[in-house]
Symmetry: C2
Subunit: 151 residues, 2 copies
């Protein structure tokens, strides 16, 4: 597919194109949510919390594929926005359980709308068949890449 005369041109590789496209997608999403004072990683944390309320920061770190100290920074910011609350686990007072507040849920909803709009713009030229092929292929690639998932 990318080979010409047995040579693979870098800009034609799936890896290269995914990298560039991914950076553009993330940039656009970051721009869209900037007015909410959120960055993509914050949204990842909120989404992870929504699907599994009351995770500890360590668990979050694993799910998001980041280092625990980064979760601290993300949680600090989200707490300042009243989007989450930290609650001590009574059973083990070292652990802090993060819970989504109403404000956090509302923020997440607004982010979802932005993401949906971005998706529409991005996939505007795709037929329904191409769209479902994309969905399928992204899932296969994600599995192959061992993509950490907040789901």
């Amino acid at each position: 597919m990318n080979d010409v005369n047995g040579r693979t041109r870098i800009p034609g590789t799936v890896a290269y194109r995914l990298g560039v496209l991914g950076a553009i997608s993330e940039n656009r999403f970051a721009t869209a949510i900037a007015p909410l004072d959120l960055k993509p990683k914050h949204v990842g944390l909120l989404a992870a919390l929504e699907s599994a309320q009351g995770l500890s920061q360590q668990e979050l770190a694993t799910r998001l594929g980041v280092v625990p100290s980064l979760v601290v920074a993300l949680a600090d910011h989200l707490e300042k926005l009243d989007a989450i609350r930290r609650e001590r686990d009574p059973a083990d007072r070292r652990r802090q359980t993060l819970v989504l507040t109403d404000v956090g849920r509302a923020l997440l909803t607004r982010c979802e709308r932005e993401a949906a709009a971005l998706d529409r713009a991005l996939t505007a030229q795709l037929t329904a068949a191409q769209l479902s092929a994309l969905d399928e292929v992204l899932s296969l690639l994600a599995a192959e890449a061992g993509m950490p998932s907040p789901r």
Copy 2:
């Protein structure tokens, strides 16, 4: 496609998945070429130079979608590796034309092999039909995203 009960879940969006997948791809490529003392952006510059020899640093900055001062840093490093040479344009002595050396071409070839191997690993589970659908869809997405291309 990503909507459940009229709600778009962030982790299901094309934008989100492209972002994560792109970051993973870039990381893997970065790891693969680290022994060559190169980063993905260096390879992007080499690839751009190969398809259009003798570009100025300004032109490169535009093609790569980065700021001119970053091209200086990338070119400094590549020059130290003897992968490129800077040549003053005799017609306009402010301009410096970057040219790929034999060392640079050899490095690029090794990067191409790494990229090809990465692609094989990434797309191992895809059928031929899915692979060509992916190719097509990536091109459409790239066009829609206004992806800067070193080609």
